[in-house]
Symmetry: C2
Subunit: 332 residues, 2 copies
């Protein structure tokens, strides 16, 4: 019974994935050209390929009711899934389902607002919620599954394609959501002063506006969303691609509001930006010409370069490698 002696907490998310992905992959054949492990899975259809993803949000783990309205939660539960679709490239969101675990004491108005918030975001992206399940539960729990159609002639861009010499890019500012979470948890009186930061945590904006542009650009080699934070996304691309990387701290885009908050809160902005998660930007690698093109058109900014595998992934600040600590661990 040795295998029963360890708990999920001691194993961690990465090892859990390593344990089950091979098992899940066994079922994947020709009809599932991209097996589990990327932002979304790809399923080969007769006329088009489908991209499918699912995310679960749990009360007191991913959100607190005291600072999340029903509409915020409905928006976010769908947004994080749409972001996973965007992270596959030239994909059009199509349809999905939502399951809700509700404590019996949940006010009906909260559930009304939840569906209103989710429907508003769905309509904006012509995404159809076609079904769901509603059950009793101790903690409010939301699970959304979303499907998107791969555009005709396009191929999903995965995490594992980065090559030495590629540039590393990110589609927007880093750290806003991490600051927003700190404000909600520790300095709620700052909530109105730094409303855009709080909003970027509560109401993330999936980058469906640029994913097709990125997915259609020849020379884009790897793509994922930064739901686990910018630093982790680059680290994951390096792991999946078997490469190293060098990121220049000074090139990481930080918003004006984020800098102002960091100053007022006495925080090192780079520390928050690198360790925090939930940005929901896209992180990508591209051959230099493609990277310059995307940067010129303000689709994404260049922040570093892919290196051979023998080089570890490091963030350089003023030319010196910087240690990154305080990364979020799912089962800690």
């Amino acid at each position: 019974m040795k295998r029963f002696s360890r708990s999920v907490a001691t194993v961690g998310e990465r090892e859990l994935l390593d344990r089950y992905l091979p098992l899940l992959r066994r079922g994947a054949g020709r009809e599932v050209p991209v097996p589990p492990g990327d932002d979304a899975a790809v399923v080969r259809g007769n006329a088009a390929d489908w991209v499918v993803t699912t995310d679960m949000l749990v009360e007191d783990v991913h959100f607190r009711r005291e600072w999340t309205s029903g509409a915020d939660l409905g928006h976010k539960a769908l947004a994080v899934n749409l972001s996973d679709l965007a992270a596959m490239g030239d994909v059009v969101p199509s349809f999905g389902v939502v399951s809700l675990g509700l404590p019996p004491s949940t006010p009906v108005g909260f559930v009304d607002d939840f569906y209103a918030g989710m429907s508003a975001l769905a309509r904006r992206h012509r995404f159809r919620i076609v079904g769901g399940d509603t059950v009793r539960s101790r903690r409010l729990t939301v699970s959304v599954t979303a499907l998107g159609r791969v555009s005709r002639g396009a191929r999903p861009v995965l995490r594992g394609g980065a090559r030495p010499g590629d540039e590393i890019l990110v589609t927007g500012t880093v750290g806003d959501a991490a600051a927003g979470l700190q404000i909600l948890e520790r300095r709620p009186r700052d909530r109105s002063t730094y409303a855009p930061l709080v909003r970027s945590f509560l109401r993330p904006f999936p980058r469906l506006d640029v994913c097709s542009r990125i997915g259609r650009t020849p020379g884009v080699t790897a793509l994922m969303d930064s739901s686990d934070g910018f630093y982790r996304s680059v680290a994951e691309i390096c792991r999946a691609s078997g490469v190293g990387a060098r990121v220049e701290a000074e090139a990481i885009p930080l918003s004006r509001a984020f800098r102002a908050w960091a100053r007022s809160a006495g925080k090192n902005p780079l520390t928050v930006a690198l360790s925090g998660g939930e940005d929901y930007q896209l992180v990508l690698t591209a051959r230099p010409a493609a990277a310059r093109e995307l940067a010129r058109e303000h689709v994404a900014g260049i922040v570093g370069r892919v290196l051979p595998a023998r080089e570890k992934f490091m963030v350089y600040e003023k030319g010196k490698p910087r240690t990154v600590t305080g990364l979020y661990e799912h089962f800690a």
Copy 2:
């Protein structure tokens, strides 16, 4: 703020559905020929129609760890979704995703067994688990989304097509799972004596073996699974079709093990069979000729008849209407 004054518990599942189905339906257009509210939703593809369903299972609501092994839970979480696909008729299960909310103390061996149990059932039906999400949660929570392909030339069979004069049929025995649950909760020492009953609760068998046969039979007018129990299924078909019904208690199939258990436990078998849930048989209505054909081939047994709307749905025992009490309420 009046709408905030009521909780989910006071509203109940039926009213929750009535509140949100119209909102969800608004998004459904030509591409979603069957809007939310049936066992599964239907999505129109280029080459084939898809059927999609999702179900969430929550610890201490739908199962208890003390009597559910990881393999049982993995099996059941997928089985209840496959049953929803079967309840749409001539449908072939295709692919799906699974989300797991895990308390950090969960033994890794439990999670191993969960995936093994789910994979075994998936393989049997050539169903591919293509992705998922693993998060921290207080109570073990499983959410599965499953998609199936509607067979070429076939149309899903919905709940709302029953017409007066149709026969009512069920594909197997009723009450076994309800007895299994009572054994697990109240008389665990009976567990080995009545193993088939316990098994039908812990390891339901989705009726994918007969769904295509039923879905292809002309004259089948309504179809759903009996996950909420036989009585509720007939009541739901009546509601969705705008008809009444008369079911003969003596015609409801009860297993030999179920009768023996009821005797030994001092229970009225019909009371348990009618109020209990989780049977995962298929309940259907069909024109008399089709019903006779299905009965002759032992696909399903005839248990009653559809009546005009002015007649309420009633179960008759020895020719007299019988009151049904003790039905399970999701948010009670």
